[in-house]
Symmetry: C2
Subunit: 231 residues, 2 copies
Amino acid sequence: MSVTSFYTGAPRHMVAVDCIIFGFENGQLKLLIVKRLPAPYHGAWSLMGGFVHDGESLNDAAARVLQVNTGLDNIYMDQLHCYGDVNRDTGGRVISVAYYALIRISEHLPQLSAEYDAHWLTLQEIPDLIFDHGQMITDALMKLRDKAHFHPIGFELLPEKFSLPQLRNLYEEIYQRPLDKRNFRKKILAMDILEKLDEKDKSTSKKGANLYRFDKSKYGELMQRGMVFEI
Amino acid sequence: MSVTSFYTGAPRHMVAVDCIIFGFENGQLKLLIVKRLPAPYHGAWSLMGGFVHDGESLNDAAARVLQVNTGLDNIYMDQLHCYGDVNRDTGGRVISVAYYALIRISEHLPQLSAEYDAHWLTLQEIPDLIFDHGQMITDALMKLRDKAHFHPIGFELLPEKFSLPQLRNLYEEIYQRPLDKRNFRKKILAMDILEKLDEKDKSTSKKGANLYRFDKSKYGELMQRGMVFEI
DNA sequence: GCAAAAGTGTTCCAGATACACCCATGG
DNA sequence: CCATGGGTGTATCTGGAACACTTTTGC
């Protein structure tokens, strides 16, 4: 078989990326959901998505979709799963590669492209979404939990400076269960990957909570020596 | 924007599935590797793969590729990852969705389609493969380990009737580390998901090892009640 | 009778869990 | 001065890891 016939004979498909975008605000885990522009289902709630271009890798496409819709760059993203049922998109046969992203809502979030009508919604507030986007969110939550358990990705959702109660609150949201204050503190501090700052967050109590910063380079070193992150 | 222009304007891509096929034979974990037919790289070692057809889901495409190349049907398969770098396939821009499959080599494996020149190779014997297929295998091994840790997928690689030493041997191969005989036995039997048969495997010792069978329905019941599989 | 693999329990240790009181401060 | 959330240490429990001898039987 010649190169030409092998490749030129192959069917072609539309391929999209969809982004499950996590944020953390007011002690709650949230998702960025938009009102869809294109028909079918114009105006329905949906994840952010877009087609993969020629000459563009999947990772690049995901980053572009995020950038165009939020103005954000250099964001933590990870592939979730590739969804390929024939009729998953009622507008045509589209294979979709889902990515999840973790965003520090507090730090920036310029105007959320008004054009796209984007909203941060808590898990409870999420309405029914088009296509298999609901399933994607369910899958993403599972994956976020698994990943957060053994990788320090929680810090991607917090401001650079954060307090331990804040961090614990985040993990309680991710795991959807209460975590013991003292045990949590013991565990995270024992890993020796947080830098204690000489600064307090007085916004949630009179006493004020000490602020910390995640020391990425220290974490890298300790990783090399076989340390295992676990929360 | 009309439905027509939104979808018809979208770029189209070739989409393939590649299969990482695990088997277990003579106490060793093996992979099914083929000699590639199409140019470029005709004759080079490669994973089994094929293009996704129109009107065919990704899962169906993976099952078809496996069926056509091995004659096997109804095989455990799970999606691994979607690989989408622009130049990953030197013959053209092809997005590939990788699946891994678990096969009971012992039970069947008709003639491995001689046409395809397929071989079961141990991890050590695997040669350099084309494209990013080497990376796919590395990723698949990681995923197999993670999955096997909390899901009873090991049984997919063993004959219906197996001995505990055999089962332990399998997990030692998957994890690439020795497991304590007594602790392993204690743990797996405590889960109460194996049916002890009145039969022995005398092929590996004079004494003979008792055979067991995985009780899938019992496992299902226990799962419902919150039991957690872990090995 | 001996070689070779199968089968069997107990001790020890580390890490997880449970738990209650004092501290600092703004109002 | 008091209400509110922040910060701290210890006792207990559970599950994992280490470990050596007896059993069976084909040759």
